[in-house]
Assembly symmetry: D3
Homo-oligomer: 212 residues x 6
Amino acid sequence: MIFPIFFTFFLLLSTSHASVQDFCVADYKAPDGPAGYSCKKPAIVTVNDFVYSGLGIAGNTTNIFKAAVTPAFAAQFPGVNGLGISLARLDLGPGGVVPFHTHPGASEVLLVVQGTIIAGFVASDNTPYLKTLKKGDIIVFPQGLLHFQVNGGDTPAIAFPSFSSPSPGLQIVDFALFKNDLATELIAQTTLLDAPQIKKLKGVLGGTNKVY
Amino acid sequence: MIFPIFFTFFLLLSTSHASVQDFCVADYKAPDGPAGYSCKKPAIVTVNDFVYSGLGIAGNTTNIFKAAVTPAFAAQFPGVNGLGISLARLDLGPGGVVPFHTHPGASEVLLVVQGTIIAGFVASDNTPYLKTLKKGDIIVFPQGLLHFQVNGGDTPAIAFPSFSSPSPGLQIVDFALFKNDLATELIAQTTLLDAPQIKKLKGVLGGTNKVY
Amino acid sequence: MIFPIFFTFFLLLSTSHASVQDFCVADYKAPDGPAGYSCKKPAIVTVNDFVYSGLGIAGNTTNIFKAAVTPAFAAQFPGVNGLGISLARLDLGPGGVVPFHTHPGASEVLLVVQGTIIAGFVASDNTPYLKTLKKGDIIVFPQGLLHFQVNGGDTPAIAFPSFSSPSPGLQIVDFALFKNDLATELIAQTTLLDAPQIKKLKGVLGGTNKVY
Amino acid sequence: MIFPIFFTFFLLLSTSHASVQDFCVADYKAPDGPAGYSCKKPAIVTVNDFVYSGLGIAGNTTNIFKAAVTPAFAAQFPGVNGLGISLARLDLGPGGVVPFHTHPGASEVLLVVQGTIIAGFVASDNTPYLKTLKKGDIIVFPQGLLHFQVNGGDTPAIAFPSFSSPSPGLQIVDFALFKNDLATELIAQTTLLDAPQIKKLKGVLGGTNKVY
Amino acid sequence: MIFPIFFTFFLLLSTSHASVQDFCVADYKAPDGPAGYSCKKPAIVTVNDFVYSGLGIAGNTTNIFKAAVTPAFAAQFPGVNGLGISLARLDLGPGGVVPFHTHPGASEVLLVVQGTIIAGFVASDNTPYLKTLKKGDIIVFPQGLLHFQVNGGDTPAIAFPSFSSPSPGLQIVDFALFKNDLATELIAQTTLLDAPQIKKLKGVLGGTNKVY
Amino acid sequence: MIFPIFFTFFLLLSTSHASVQDFCVADYKAPDGPAGYSCKKPAIVTVNDFVYSGLGIAGNTTNIFKAAVTPAFAAQFPGVNGLGISLARLDLGPGGVVPFHTHPGASEVLLVVQGTIIAGFVASDNTPYLKTLKKGDIIVFPQGLLHFQVNGGDTPAIAFPSFSSPSPGLQIVDFALFKNDLATELIAQTTLLDAPQIKKLKGVLGGTNKVY
């Protein structure tokens, strides 16, 4: 049995224009926009744009929080640009904590793969939702809500958060308040915290006291 | 000149099914979903569903923050359901403050219509953006970022925040931390605040100390 | 008590790539796309990109409609680019009118801050929804529907429309029909208006009569 | 060669809950929401929910516009519910016209399959874009903009508009202005049309004159 | 009666910045992003950007499938860029087939305008939905699901698929498996097909056998 | 120092209506819609709605593919409803394979936590992208594209796929073709496969041969 050579079928689908179709691997040198980075020309995209190996390496937890977050967001992992998803790795040493924070533009599902983690979030009506998670457990933090993770055991814990955005952002409350030059008085006014407490944490986290 | 009566044109556009077209006025009694409330039957919708008068009334600022926020979100203003927008009114007495907070699901543009307001937000990289706003000025707070407003003068100030969602949410950091039963020790661990400071603010804001 | 200096925590979150995270302040010189303008490099963004003072100034209402619309859309207010929201100011002199118009890509909530405004929209089934609004009242115009505003009192009225898009667009029916070179005959055919009426309004609004 | 029976693979993917996955065929009896109609239970969905035959029948053009629009929107064609697309059929008799109109929530691509159609739209800056279309030609009308279609030949024309929404809506300017009880004076004020012209078209289209 | 010249109304709406409003005609020379191509400057946009005539020409069906798909996607038809819709033309000679394929990013509504087409799709639960379509019939293929079209008669058939995206993509299973250099062994493992069958189809479709 | 009791601040934010704000935990008994399941009343939501433990348990791989996929989609994990994200667990025994499949409505990032996995996808232009992944590696499969996973070692492998949708769907090509009652002749016509091959796989996978 012989098949005739076929050659014209769907030929029109390939054009000389850059294709906006299957994916949009981030081109970090071109302008970015509200929807993400510009797309690398498909001709120079390789499988390595879609693979990221950085999450296999433990983060350095020798810091005040005994914690490390290693992101694989669009800024690090070009293949997820425009695709509505990204990942990260969380290392929590014994006593480790990721303090209260939000991801301004994404929901998160946290997967525990080693150790025990106490995780929680607070809803807009101030109700806290807390749970101690074992290996294999997952918890979802709805978009933009304050949440935290604490190592609940005596051994290092590892988790992998997934996000509903390639650029979820990360805003840590302590850093937003104390790791910049916001005036102590203004922080006091907008948090009800006492000035000595504010100054102490500015000292710990490296903030200064600007006089506006 | 005589026009013949016409009668069949576009008749097919009206059907016996509930219409999913121009708007979806909230029906608070039916189930709600991720996209908002169910729609009231168009036949019982009136102009009053699209009009809200509650923002014409000053909020009560006799409270610890000397501030009041009056929302016209989808939960109060059924006409905005599903339309990607809502409004609120902000009253700030002399010395009034809206402490650090976020709207988990929306960006905000704040319009000052009376008095002077110092407004600011902090970006994910901890850079603060602050400005003193006069009557007629507007400022935008990008989605999910921590921001605050402070009365910058000696007289009452009024502003109207607009939101990019009919249900923007509102999470006040002080309330999330101190106006519930989160354990003092856990708060200390996840904020670096000292226990006495936490206990003081729990007292001020009505929180309790749960032992988990 | 002494805190050790911490220095590595979350260091990986800062990268050398332009960040696509918290906001995307419009860079008017780079290409724009379907989602909005390109983003200004974060390093040169200042608080002034997020603040707009143009709405504090009354628009010039010495025109045929005794009305002025002053936009703070992404094209004027770079901070709202990509954030799903924008504002404008509406001045209506005594007798002032914003004639029937649509915003092709946005819903609108109109806030009256001075005077009295009769506002209304017409739904797809031709039902009109009208209301006389006082100071503090708000009305929502669902996306894309024809609506209008008329000064309902003897004194100047001021309102602030908010939009569910940073670039809501504005299409005024009178202008679309009579303020260009559409042939009178074609307009007559597509509106049922009489030719003399069309020619009169072309004269008023500055349109010409192209022969196609 | 023998293959072992396999039976457990992916079994967990089938659950007892109603599935929210591939499609959401409209259930007209349950509540609708901002995203569309509720979903029919998958078990009672058949291929006929995904097929619509109504567009094969010519619309009745014996009316003042010598035109007929037959929609296959979500309200008529349950299979497109939630899928971001719908179709319609347009019949234009000799001299037929679809007068200026908008689809508040959708862009449109019009495909001419018989005859000649003059189609056009007007942009927000009042620039008209007009073209005479032959069989096989397509034109796109960007979301929410005023556009029209006119039979450009002496024989019946047929076209099929596609929409970027399952419920695109259809607002005809003439109908919105003259086919309801809006007061003649108000229409005059908000359109600059003369009262006699308004009254004439109210008469033609069946509108009345409400005294507010 | 004399109308005063009016000149300032809405003047502020025209700015010197490139406008991001009504449409975003594709500029194939500027970078593209996740939301589509960059926008051509409005000043050089013409009606021809919004009109496409390529679908009026029959595709060449002298190939193995006796079929041709002619796309009018954003890559060919710049006017649909960013507008959530596109079209194509399908020609099926007698015995013609569009083999099983998906559109990764869009739902499709297929309109038959000539001949008879047997069309079908398979849902995630493996249920097939099949129908024989006559002229004027439409069928919807929900996003991303496998579907096919077969000429059901003895004469050429023509259909026009509409898509819910300007760049819907097109992935043909046979081509994805057999028209590249995937190793025969790997294909066997990931499809359960026998090696001779795979090799035969590689031969037919022009695939090679890479040894990884 | 004494703080006055404050009690009215933000009181208006709590209303008697069901709140559409922070989250929308799936209520499997109410109707679902295009955006997902209806929301459970916030009052009966508990932390257990946001936590899922099923992914800690190894799937049963004693089947023909020596593989198991355990989903934590909205249908199993009510907390992710409406949040644009979900997870699953993949177990691959030695020689295990997830055959070619797509997720019609989502992109996927696969995280390998044990063993070695050869993963790959094919783009619309038929280019394959393949990589052997070690523990800690991640790969992204852009939305809707055909992809597969194969155990690349001699020991069991475990991976956790994350999806950009709470209901990503899963369509396995082999199952769509051979695990239902599609006629052998029709499959042959739409896949180019030979009838004996089709019949063999129908036998393996449990399909029957319907005569239409």
